[in-house]
């Protein structure tokens, strides 16, 4: 068999626009997901059991169900409660919530890796639990967590392809559109795959760079 990219090449700008959407969705979701996840992770270690259990339950549910189902619940399910979200918003919320479950576990691990003496020194200096968390523990935990958060970002770039099921014109969705007009399925999805690969590897590279810089600083 032979591959012929000539039919697909006119659509490359469209694919790149899709890639841009993918990046936007991933960046937004990783930011929101990390914020929410940091909060969830912090709740996992508070000295108040009910809050710990709630956070643990949240993480349990998020990590135990498919992202696709979470997206469907938000986009197709919530309208029955009278909440109609635009596809992009629903997609971002779904991805962020999903990511927060994983980031939550990463944050919990990062917090628990900070030595107990840091908590104690902060306490005898008069800092409250929340201030200790904010000024002493989280800044150290986040540094330890950076590699894992980076992986989560890369994962998110790939998983954002599920947003195509909500008809969001991200890379995978655009790929399907291109295929349906060119019928060059193989060539189209090879190209789509390559664009994903470029996005994930350059993200990894960038994160590696940031990590190294941060270590020296």
């Amino acid at each position: 068999m032979s591959l012929d990219f000539s039919a697909v090449s006119p659509y490359i700008p469209m694919l790149l626009a899709g890639a841009k959407m993918t990046i936007q969705a991933s960046v937004l979701s990783v930011l929101l997901g990390s914020l929410l996840g940091t909060f969830i992770g912090a709740l996992r270690v508070v000295p108040f059991a009910p809050l710990r259990y709630i956070a643990a339950g949240y993480i349990y549910i998020i990590r135990g169900t498919p992202l696709l189902i979470q997206l469907f619940l938000i986009y197709f399910g919530l309208p029955s409660l009278g909440l109609n979200l635009p596809a992009f918003a629903a997609g971002i919320i779904g991805l962020s919530i999903n990511s927060s479950g994983y980031v939550g576990e990463i944050v919990r691990g990062g917090i628990e890796a900070v030595p107990k003496g840091q908590w104690e020194a902060s306490k005898v200096l008069g800092l409250s639990y929340v201030k200790t968390m904010r000024f002493i523990i989280l800044p150290q935990a986040i540094r330890n967590m950076l590699p894992a958060i980076g992986n989560e970002f890369v994962t998110l770039i790939k998983e954002s392809s599920l947003l195509s099921t909500l008809a969001i014109t991200e890379l995978t969705m655009v790929g399907q559109q291109v295929r349906s007009v060119t019928y060059a399925s193989f060539e189209t999805f090879i190209l789509v795959g390559i664009v994903y690969l470029i996005m994930t590897s350059s993200t990894s590279f960038l994160l590696q760079y940031v990590e190294n810089k941060w270590k020296v600083a």
Binding site: G117, E120, L125, G126, L127, S128
Partner: protein, 278 residues
């Protein structure tokens, strides 16, 4: 440091409550009973050393006083204020008592000066400028002004502990607790830290020092407590405890410490001797 031996703590009005007072303190970890009916008090301006074998509960006692441990029963008062009932915030306690740890526990992600200004800004409400001025003054006091922008990991152990002392002082505590401040240090760095502590003692700070440095305890303190198996079993002036201990177990402990100390000295001499011979 010789003056500090004879430092007088008399003529303090008996109307004033002690700086710290512990009454009938019991503390256990699970089934392990660590403090068994401990009572003692620390008068304002007094320097008390606590000695005793490993596991006797010295650290636990200090940690109860600065509320790092919950107690099982008994009462703890700081300046007449009962602090073991959970009614005080961390801030309230920090105004009264500072704690120095064996492992320094500096904040590694902050510069030396940031370590020192954090609490004054966040807890005392000082402006950054005032806090930094104060921080630099404290660093000068421990001889580390030039390290203000270093990270803790760029410092030697002795320097770390001096920064930790300056940091504790940044909250203006009325009492300082030291939990084996020099035990984690290389022998050649012990002296610089003990000098800072001795200066603090001379300045009139109320202190409780848990230490295995017997010579230092003897020189710097007004009173020495000997703990064993969760109890204060003997207390007295440095002369009483070190020169004529009453109890056989105090004698035994001191004997062991001195033998250990003596051996270390001989070893050091031996090494130096080797160095001199090419």
């Amino acid at each position: 440091m010789a003056e500090s031996c004879s430092k007088a703590v008399g003529n303090i009005s008996s109307m004033n409550p002690p700086a710290a007072e512990v009454r009938n303190l019991y503390k256990s970890f699970g089934d392990l009973s660590v403090l068994k009916d401990v009572s003692f008090s620390l008068r304002e301006g007094e320097v008390v050393s606590v000695i005793g074998p490993s596991g006797s509960g010295k650290s636990t006692l200090a940690r109860c006083i600065c509320r790092l441990e919950e107690i099982n029963s008994g009462e703890i008062y700081l300046y007449g204020d009962r602090i073991d009932n959970g009614r005080h915030s961390n801030r309230d306690i920090a105004h009264l008592v500072g704690m120095i740890f064996q492992q320094f526990n500096l904040f590694p992600h902050l510069s030396v000066l940031e370590n020192l200004v954090l609490s004054p800004i966040r807890i005392l409400g000082l402006s950054r400028k005032d806090a930094e001025e104060k921080g630099v003054a404290l660093l000068r006091r421990v001889g580390l002004e030039e390290k203000r922008n270093s990270r803790p990991r760029e410092l030697s152990g002795g320097q770390c502990q001096r920064v930790a002392i300056a940091r504790a002082l940044s909250m203006n505590p009325k009492i300082m607790l030291f939990d084996e401040p020099t035990s984690a240090l290389d022998p050649e760095l012990v002296g610089e830290v003990l000098d800072v502590i001795a200066d603090l003692a001379d300045s009139g700070m109320t202190m409780m020092i848990i230490t295995h440095e017997m010579m230092f305890a003897k020189e710097v303190s007004n009173r020495v407590l000997f703990m064993d198996e969760g109890k204060i079993v003997e207390e007295g002036t440095p002369v009483e405890i070190f020169s004529c201990p009453r109890l056989p177990r105090t004698q035994l402990f001191l004997q062991r410490m001195l033998v250990h100390f003596g051996r270390e000295l001989t070893e050091a001499d031996g090494k130096e001797g080797c160095d001199r011979v090419p």
